[in-house]
Amino acid sequence: MSPMKLCVPGERLCSTEDCIPGTGTYLRHGYIFASLAGYVLRKNEGEELPVMSVVKETETQLLPDVGAIVTCKVTSINPRFAKVHILYVGSTPLKDRFRGTIRKEDVRATEKDKVETYKSFRPGDIVLAKVISLGDVQSNYLLTTAENELGVVVAHSEAGAQMVPVSWCEMQCPRTHAKEFRKVARVQPEYLQA
């Protein structure tokens, strides 16, 4: 990479006529300004204009956003919902834990009324979920697993072994061969590394 241009917050980068504002920038009076200290990145993403963004060496703080796929860990369960800690947003680890909730009706897309949370998650499971709302006064982030690709990816049996999925709703312990119910995700290769 050629030596990239450094920029500092408040620096004017270019006019909106030349670029589309990306991350680490903001718009004012028709100009794009940097809001971070970092390097200016100009990328053509097939649009008419290149996207102007500012990137930092160290990953910037991300917050779970609506629609984002997050990786979380189940902390507790009750008949109505499961509580989770959000660990990753996409592939970015969060420095801080954010709490989220998967309500019973958001566990799967079909037969919503027959869902039992105990048969879907267990504390300690690692779950892939999608943010559906930032929540309100009573609740935190609301998450959903109502997609085939979402659900439990890693779970441990009572014996302590990591279980393998056997169907979309069951997982088996390799040691005791006991089967446990889970809302299992059909893990796509791109998520595997996480």
């Binding site: 917050p9 903001y26 809001s35 200290a37 970092g38 060496e57 917050l63 930032l134």
Partner: protein, 245 residues
């Protein structure tokens, strides 16, 4: 008896500066590993440590949550050894609560809080040594820490004080000058746009003098911003060399 002469006829101040000259400002970013952002800044003999955490989930009362932007939480404190007289400084005394509030207001104006709704950003500043201009040193240090944390800001916030002695505005007052009477005005400025994030003055000043004093304080702020800019660029460069390897 005869008080101290704050400005000599030759135009030199107590410590040898001229009226418009700032104290030496030195700073470093990223001094703490565990925090999201941190900075240490010396403005003359005033030394400040600023640490930033966040944005993270709102802690404590959920009622604080703002749905359209992040909450900025500031805490200002002074070390027991920060002044000439060693003194226990309990948290939450009037002076530091007020200072905390001022810092909060300043940064709410500068940080792009709407990018992080429902979250909280903590800014902790500690005065390690106080020699006048505490507020401005805190703001300057916190700016660097926020930048270090990678929290988007509109612009730097640069703060500086200015005082008024013998009809001459003095920039960046030291402790002796602050306590030597006269009015002191603190301005926090977004230097590029020239917007004022906070303006504070707690003594009387005649209206006619306000403009010149503001002018002096703003010029001083711009002076500070140059120094901060330097520090940030230097830091970026160092970081890129580190990561480049």
């Amino acid at each position: 008896m005869a008080g101290i002469e704050l400005l000599s006829d030759q135009g030199y101040r107590l410590d040898g500066r001229k009226a418009t000259e700032l104290r030496k400002v030195q700073a470093r970013m990223g001094v703490f590993g565990q925090a999201d952002g941190s900075a240490y800044l010396e403005q003359g003999n005033t030394k400040v440590l600023a640490v930033v955490y966040g944005p993270h989930e709102v802690r404590g009362a959920r009622s604080k949550i703002l749905y359209d932007r992040a909450v900025i939480n500031c805490q200002y404190s002074m070390a027991t050894f920060s002044t000439a007289e060693r003194k226990r400084r309990p948290h939450g005394d009037r002076k530091s609560s007020e200072m905390s509030l001022h810092l909060k207001q300043t940064f709410e104006a500068a940080v792009l809080t709407q990018l992080y709704p429902r979250s909280q950003i903590d800014i902790y500043v500690k005065i390690l040594q106080a020699d006048g201009g505490n507020y401005s040193a805190c703001v300057n240090a916190a700016t660097l820490a926020v930048i270090d944390a990678g929290i988007p800001m509109r612009d730097y916030v640069c703060a500086c004080t200015a005082g008024f002695v013998d009809d001459t505005p003095l920039a960046d007052l030291c402790h002796a000058e602050e306590s030597g009477g006269g009015t002191s005005l603190a301005v926090a400025l977004l230097p590029r746009g020239g917007q004022i994030a906070l303006l504070q003055m707690d003594a009387r000043l005649h209206q006619d003098h306000l403009d010149t004093l503001m002018e002096a304080a703003m010029t001083a702020c711009k002076g500070v911003s140059k120094v901060l800019d330097e520090v940030v660029r230097q830091h970026l460069q160092e970081m890129s060399i580190l990561t480049g390897e």
